[in-house]
Point group: C2
Chain length 465, copies 2
Amino acid sequence: MNITAAYTDLYQITMAQVYFETKPNGRAVFDYYFRHNPFKSGYSIFAGLEDVLTSLETLKFSSSDMTYLKAKGFESDFLDYLENFSFKGSIYSCQEGDVVFPNRPILQVEANIIEAQIIETFLLNILNFQTLIATKASRIKYSAKDGVLLDMGLRRAHATGGYYASRAAAIGGFDSTSNVKAAEDYAIPSTGTMAHSFIQSYEDELQAFRDFAKVRPDNCVLLIDTYNTLKSGLPHAITVAKEMEERGERLLGVRLDSGDLAYLAKKTRQILDDSNLGYVKIVVSNQLDEYVIKSLKEQGAPIDIFGVGTNLVTGKPDAALAGVYKLAAFNDTPRIKLSENIIKTSLPFKKQVYRMIDDNGMFYGADAIAIHSETKVSKMEHPFDITKSLELNRFKHEPLLNQVMKDGKRTIPVRTVAEIAEYSQLRLKQLPNEYKRFQNPHIYKIGLSSQLKKERDALINLHKF
Amino acid sequence: MNITAAYTDLYQITMAQVYFETKPNGRAVFDYYFRHNPFKSGYSIFAGLEDVLTSLETLKFSSSDMTYLKAKGFESDFLDYLENFSFKGSIYSCQEGDVVFPNRPILQVEANIIEAQIIETFLLNILNFQTLIATKASRIKYSAKDGVLLDMGLRRAHATGGYYASRAAAIGGFDSTSNVKAAEDYAIPSTGTMAHSFIQSYEDELQAFRDFAKVRPDNCVLLIDTYNTLKSGLPHAITVAKEMEERGERLLGVRLDSGDLAYLAKKTRQILDDSNLGYVKIVVSNQLDEYVIKSLKEQGAPIDIFGVGTNLVTGKPDAALAGVYKLAAFNDTPRIKLSENIIKTSLPFKKQVYRMIDDNGMFYGADAIAIHSETKVSKMEHPFDITKSLELNRFKHEPLLNQVMKDGKRTIPVRTVAEIAEYSQLRLKQLPNEYKRFQNPHIYKIGLSSQLKKERDALINLHKF
């Protein structure tokens, strides 16, 4: 499947037809944000922006899309419009890889409302998923500390979504991927070991190891649990490691893929060390996630490399980030969506978000949301609790939403996955550790400028019943 | 991203190189199966086969794949092999849409081992995901009974995996999708309503409804919860419905997307009926899954159409089906993989699976696995419990694995999603209801022919420590 403008929900096109016939020149501002961090995390890692910008620059309805939409019964004037459709709007966004938080805009689209609606589904689809996976990857990196992380989830990923999962995992801190296509297109280091089937295809395990090491001596990792880890796989691997030494080569590692990984890693380390193979690394895999890795670390398991699959690429257990795209202004008039749950009430106006930076260059733990036209925000107020506010004059104010697209063309240089991943690590260093812990992480504050709060409350009063 | 042969794990190519240099003509049989039904379901719906066959017929490494692999340092002889790579093997499979169960082969690949390895990741990626989603969809259909089901999950799907999710949802029993691209390519009915942003773009809700109904009177569904469902949205929708009647048109429905759906649906139904709008349907959405729908049904909520999104397309809470691909034979010799957990021991030999059909044409609840060459299976034995066996002579034996590809070309006609969905419903009718309930469903039996069990146990003894 190629991504075309038909990668959308039908209602976007239906609504677009109504706009086309009733107010074709309406200008809209939409906010992209989410209401909760995934995984009960104290932060999220924003990912997917480069893919969005790249696709938006060339997004069209294909000729087969047009044939389909014609058959759906859309009017010919409107079909002509769709045939010539392109996105010609502006986008303001946080940097990809930044540490972001709930309930403040991460990205704003300012465009003709028809264009803004047609791209909504694609934009949500890419940003929601990659932000989910980059966040999961970041948490796994946090628990693995200096352990090397390998993404190997493609076989359990959601079909071709696995391609984007591998990209987002690299942004979140994974060192390499097994996914050849993603590695190729996104310049992510690719690595891999061997499968049980390789060993099974031989009459005996030792010969399988020997053949593999002879043909692929570089970065050779032997999988040692096909028959019995300690009684068969490890002794055979040691034999091969010694044979490699005679050829002037070095076995990179052995991989454990079943059983009690903490126990087996310790035993394996000890036996390798006793065999003067202290340089042979231990790779583990098998249903790892941030909690299993944290437990392995706490047990002192001497593991060098963690291979993570299903739990990473599917973003288990959440499986989705529920990011939304809400109308904030139409033809320069602020717009609001109410809800029975006041927390879900949307924020009107084109906005800016300021991050408060303390004297040490660290995040203070507060983002202030203001109307875009405000020049000075000296205080932020809690969105709903009138007893709470924060003076902001003592902080450096970093504006987070910067223009990345204008008139449908990107205005920032292309950034590689490696550059985005590096930026993400720098930003994470600015985030105090209490936001990173897994148990009840500290809650990062959100506040509204006094003007935004006043104007929002007036709109609530206008629409409430 | 286009699907090419590089949509694989790097280790498949690494292993392929070793095979290429040491035993390039090895013939392998691999089994595809999974060990547990997802969602604690009593059955699964097999999906994804058509996509696999279609891709396999033309799967190649692209020129950019070859450039990448050359840069990875693979040898030139082997690169020549990859440049000319195509899948030339055979596939034996259950029919797509069939009701399937754990721990018996659903599909077998018989091919040169290099080809069989290179396609492994792609095959698992497509079958695991679509089987997961088709099973979820089937469960949702079971709880919705005669309610109409609309897939609207694309914005929360795993990037382009959403395309395959919509296909699998249709196979599992969904009536339509919001996903235009999937609808177009797979001939799935597409439907949609309107978004809150549409209403917010107007000064008042009534005018928004009026414009929409005028431009799109066919299949018009008005979203009534933007400001207040019962005090604003519903009265406005009734006004527009009456105006439509004057034009000889009919409002199709109103949609509830927040609040207590059971309460609001009952109230809405009553008010619509009191307004002589008994024909206006009630559509609900908002974090639905099989359990929420079951509860709404039990409460007697008068809902006609259920829109299901995130929980469907992400296969929550499981998020993955852990299907595996295990070597069963190599060069006509049976192969086994042991495990510390005996249940995970693989089954050797090229095999056939027979489903037992009773006198009424219903599934008896037992699939028997035999070595492919066995002609008569009169008894099946429990895989591990020597006290249990079942006489099979009284049943009709339906062979489930039939050839679908030979020499890399499909041997069965193309089947549309609609045909597969229809077949799936017929097969579900043959499955007794006790396998369909959500709480502790009846466990469908698996058994081995006496010969397969004897041969497997001999192989276990050969490799055990």
